[in-house]
């Protein structure tokens, strides 16, 4: 696969993943540019892989984890979200609730956030996430559990197939 073919087929998905991981456009741009520049330079090797898009996703994740680690001192953290005053639900409630959730997501440790993004945005199973992050599936479940607890998100009952996979792994 040439870089041009990769860009045409995978770029939008890669950009969206970066945006969801990073949470803002500037960081996402930085993240993707950094990764794609490196990937571009080594495309003769990456393009020959069975699934170059998976490799690039892994690069994005690694860069995201490393970037946030390196630059956490310089990042502007989301401010506290004001409590809702009105008890009557209106259209703004859903919006503010979502913004509050995103603000809390932004405060999560980077690995927890990455796991939640991969599980709930990309719909990847824990084994895939473990492969992408280079850790054990049990570790992934631990990150997810702690992340969800911090966000105070209730988990839906897991589908039977997922439970079986979990028990087998």
């Amino acid at each position: 696969m040439t870089f041009e073919e990769f860009a045409a087929a995978q770029m939008p998905a890669v950009l969206r993943l970066a945006a969801v991981l990073a949470g803002d456009r500037a960081t996402a741009e930085d993240l993707v540019q950094e990764v794609l520049t490196r990937a571009y330079c080594r495309w003769d090797r990456i393009g020959g892989l069975d699934r170059p898009e998976l490799y690039v996703r892994k690069m994005i994740l690694n860069e995201f984890l490393a970037w946030r680690r390196r630059s956490s001192r310089h990042r502007t953290r989301p401010g506290p979200v004001p409590e809702a005053v009105s008890s009557a639900p209106d259209h703004a409630c859903a919006y503010s609730e979502r913004e509050a959730l995103l603000a809390e997501l932004g405060k999560l440790p980077r690995r927890q956030r990455a796991v939640l993004v991969l599980r709930y945005y990309e719909d990847r199973c824990d084994n895939e996430i473990a492969e992408l992050l280079g850790c054990a599936p049990g570790t992934v479940r631990g990150y997810a559990s702690r992340g969800l607890a911090a966000l105070r998100v209730e988990m839906a009952p897991r589908p039977r197939a997922s439970l079986r996979t979990e028990l087998e792994s």
């Binding site: 040439t2 741009e29 520049t37 003769d44 939640l116």
Partner: protein
């Protein structure tokens, strides 16, 4: 109440932050094409590559060069570059400065022609140097006035870095997994190029960048500290081209996550300017730094920073400094919102991706030097310039290569145009060039662009 569905919905809203694919691709191509990488350094820095868009134009330019009957004189040297007769015993050849064009630009520059395609993207890792280049590489000496080949010179290995003094070119050449150093002098009418091996000890470290002082007497190169197949340029060597005597600088442990970018010598012949990217672009350490190579000490960071790579104007991959040390030139590589403390404004106005910014080295005050207009129908950001190929002593004049790109749309093909411009105090004049199949190039008086660093296989 929050459940997984809320989380999924919230995550999907973050898609709105997805960057513009065209802008990202333009930036990637600009970065990989304009310089060997940016903040990453080391093996993250890439050999200059012209995008595939230029291949047809390049071929046309090559054919035109042959048809017009340019005189090509080839200086061929032996497999290990034996010193030519008449060369002084110490290897250093004092040479007169290059002639100048009517516009005052050095008349020739040195270029590495495009690599043959090696795999899908035509890129090559240094550790997998194409066999065709292991035995030698032919460099082009280009006439500045026309952009056409004036002569060629063959070097006996893979060329990993090139640089120029005011009157000669220099190259670092990988032979037998060590970097050897050559001086290329032009003689006679035509002219004719000849390469002479310098008495500088070959280096087996993974090679970074090369720069040579204006008088040609001091050669600086950076080498990498490796991390597996990656590396960061953290060691500096300055060697005398006449005696081979060396001084070395290393990076202190506290800066071990940084990397050196392109280097330049100032006109004084003792101050080396280099771009340094610390652990992050936004870190205060990421800046252009000046190192007095005659001062005591062996710490690479013993010099002083001049200007941060991320500042109010935007983010810059690196800076080019004028030989007098008073002016810095940078290309904006980040559209507004480049990070904390970087609103991306100049004089109260938003600047654009690819704009050429001039800074005062003393005060850091910026001024817009040039912004390439977009092609009709293209939306910003669709233009950019590479770092200057050449910059005059005061930085008032410079030679730039700039690009305009218009993405494909239904019924219309994508268009990319490149221009070689002489920028004289804000006034741009286009040189009569065609897109040339160049991979890396160097002008007298400016930083030596490194090729993709040649990384020998791990021991």
């Amino acid at each position: 109440m929050r459940d997984e569905a809320d989380l999924r919905a919230a995550l999907r809203t973050l898609e709105r932050h997805a960057p513009d694919p065209d802008a990202v691709l333009l930036a990637v191509r600009s970065r990989t094409g304009s310089r060997p990488g940016r903040r990453g350094g080391g093996l993250r820095r890439a050999r200059r590559r012209w995008s595939t868009w230029f291949a047809p134009l390049a071929a046309a330019a090559a054919v035109a060069a042959v048809i017009t009957g340019l005189t090509l004189a080839t200086g061929v040297i032996g497999p290990h570059g034996h010193r030519a007769p008449g060369v002084t015993a110490h290897g250093f050849i004092p040479v007169a400065p290059f002639p100048r064009t009517a516009a005052g630009i050095p008349a020739y520059f040195l270029a590495i022609p495009n690599l043959p395609a090696n795999g899908a993207g035509g890129w090559t890792l240094a550790s997998t140097v194409p066999p065709a280049l292991r035995s030698g590489e032919t460099l082009l000496i280009i006439s500045t006035a026309t952009g056409q080949v004036a002569t060629t010179v063959r070097l006996p290995g893979y060329v990993t870095g090139i640089a120029a003094s005011s009157g000669a070119f220099f190259a670092a050449v990988i032979i037998g997994q060590r970097a050897w150093f050559y001086e290329i002098v032009l003689t006679g009418q035509g002219p004719t190029a000849r390469a002479i091996r310098l008495p500088v000890a070959p280096d087996s470290a993974a090679f970074g960048y090369l720069a040579v002082s204006p008088d040609g007497r001091r050669l600086a190169y950076s080498t990498m500290v490796r991390h597996g197949n990656m590396g960061d340029n953290q060691n500096l060597v300055v060697a005398s081209t006449s005696t081979g005597a060396q001084r070395r600088w290393t990076t202190p442990a506290r800066d071990a996550r940084g990397t050196m970018g392109p280097m330049q010598w100032l006109a004084d012949g003792k101050t080396l300017a280099f771009n340094w990217t610390g652990a992050a672009m936004v870190s205060p350490a990421s800046s252009l730094r000046l190192l007095d190579t005659t001062a005591a000490g062996h710490s690479l960071m013993s010099g002083r920073p001049v200007l941060r790579l991320v500042n109010r104007v935007g983010a810059f991959d690196d800076y080019t400094i004028s030989p007098d040390g008073k002016t810095l030139i940078g290309i904006v590589t980040c559209v507004p919102g480049c990070g904390p403390g970087s609103p991306g404004t100049i004089g109260g106005h938003r600047d654009a991706f690819g704009s050429v910014i001039r800074f005062s080295a003393a005060s850091g005050v910026p001024a817009m030097a040039y912004a390439q207009p977009p092609l009709p129908g293209a939306r910003a950001p669709s233009t950019t310039c590479n770092d200057p190929w050449w910059i005059s002593y005061s930085g008032r004049r410079m030679l730039l290569e700039c690009f305009q790109h218009r993405p494909a749309s239904p019924g219309r093909k994508a268009v990319t145009m490149n221009h070689v411009l002489l920028l004289d105090n804000g006034k741009a004049t286009e040189l009569p060039w065609h897109a040339a199949p160049l991979d890396s190039l160097t002008f007298p008086g400016i930083t030596g662009w490194s090729g993709f660093p040649a990384l020998p296989p791990p021991p």
